[in-house]
Amino acid sequence: MSAEAIFSVSGLTKRFGEGEAEVLVLKGIDLSMAAGEMAALLGPSGSGKSTLLTILGTLMRASGGTHDMLGVDLMQASEGQRTKFRSKHLGFVFQFHHLLPDLSALENVMMPAACAAGRETRAMRERATELLDAVGLADRRDYRPSAMSGGQRQRVAVARALINNPVLVLADEPTGNLDRQSADHVMDLIRSINQTMATSFLISTHDEHIAGQCPRRIELLDGRIVRS
């Protein structure tokens, strides 16, 4: 693991099912990312992009290999330790925004921090307001998701991913559900955050247009990295 690397995986494998039904989805991934890096993860459907993101996000354990991040051996960590680690150091943006429908935009942005602390604080509110301002939705802070457009919701989801000042944001097809204009708007936002906040982004996508906006390309084919 290099000095600047925020995470490093080596010989990472993931298999689903057992016996004859066993499927090896990841077949020995070696990958690391530096702090402040922005990379696109490309590959056809079934190549293992989502599985890799899910493992890097500590939402799933790998079947084999090593997985270290910020000096923590995440293969050996308990479920509770992984939950705390996830809350503190990782952010997520999904294809579907998955905002909580009962909460306002501001409350949705605060949610990951409030879950970890068990309460909402003034500092969280201020930080969430800053983030909504950064994603251009300061005037929508009290709107519920149902009152916002798809692009606006996804921008709220980006702000939510940043509330805990994560070192790495994992984005799984973040623009897959948006029109071109909204998709560009979200990508501009991600690039701007990457440059101003030095947050690393790993963005899974099918879209060459989106991948072209990322300085680094990581290509996955049939569970193996073919270009990194």
Partner: protein
Amino acid sequence: MSPYAVKLAIRHLLSHPGQTALLMAGVALGVSVFIFMSALIGGLATLLTLRTVGSIPHIVLEMPDRDPAILSPDGLAQVVLQKDLSRRDQIAIWQPVIPIIEKTPNIIAVSPQIRGSAFVERGQTVAPVGVIGVMPGKLSEIADIDAAMVDGSSNLPADGILIGSRLARDLGLRIGQVVRLSSDRGRARSFRIGGIFTLGIASADRQAVYMNFTTARALFDLPTGISRIEIKVAPATDAADIAERLRRSTGLKATAWTEDNSQLFEGLDAQARTGIIIKAFSLVTIIVGISSAMLLSIVRRQSEIGIMRAMGASKGLVISIFVLEGTLIGLVGAIVGAVIAWLALLPLPPVTEVRSGGLPIDRAQGDFLLAITLTTLAAMLASILPARNAARIDPVEAIGA
């Protein structure tokens, strides 16, 4: 319980007012049934007890039965004293006993009485009666004869008697008529019918005859003693304990009304058990209702739960949110149900004023606090299993990551 869990639970309930109101209405209905049943069963027990003990003595003091005694000084032979049927049991020295009884706590009425059997004769018709000789001013101490008078006056002059309405009907007697009473002591006298009463107890209305205490002494040949002392206590349900105290303090045989009315108690017990079963069913209904509603809600909110878990929410936080939602539905529903039940029971008359055909509901026995507490606990229990299911949701599957 973190403040954030409280906020999310309340927010979800308020964000779906229709669903929340429907769930709370179901709980409120169950609680109303619980309270209604408590008030009805309690009221019915009170009514039956009142009706049973209203016109009877709660405790009767009499001379104790004499035990066989060993008369042989060497103890080799036991001589059994057989009850002397030619002598009547009487409390010979009774005046000093009265103050002892009156000083005993919870005693509300004391009536020394002379009792005996007699025949009422009118022309060729003869009817057996039980004569009760009561002291002036104590006529209504045990049975409320004053309130039961249907004709004439309740005064008891030396030559006057009060008879029950059934006896009056059987013998065709009216106020002012004269009848002859022959006592079991072989004495006879003529009396004027001064009043006719209806107690609503067939045996009393057909056979009881009230007369002046002094007149009864003469009729039954009891120059100094009395037959028994009748007592009323409050509450009537404490009669057995008070009877035991009186037995020890007076040395007399004390019989509480509860000893002679075991069937009533069995009936009341069975009624109370039925009530418990009905109340238990209403609680089970609440548990099943809340539990199934929570399970459905969790299925509907899978992706929300998944995203929270993915964003670092602990299993404990997820469990807290759902248990709190269930508990709040139970608590608010129970309070609403209790208020509705209280208002619905408000116009009903007290048990003591219930007329024939009316429901004897005692609001005071509605167990309002118990209903609210049990329902809230039941709701909490009902949501634990669904909440644990929610905490087990795999965030990867739930959000389709």
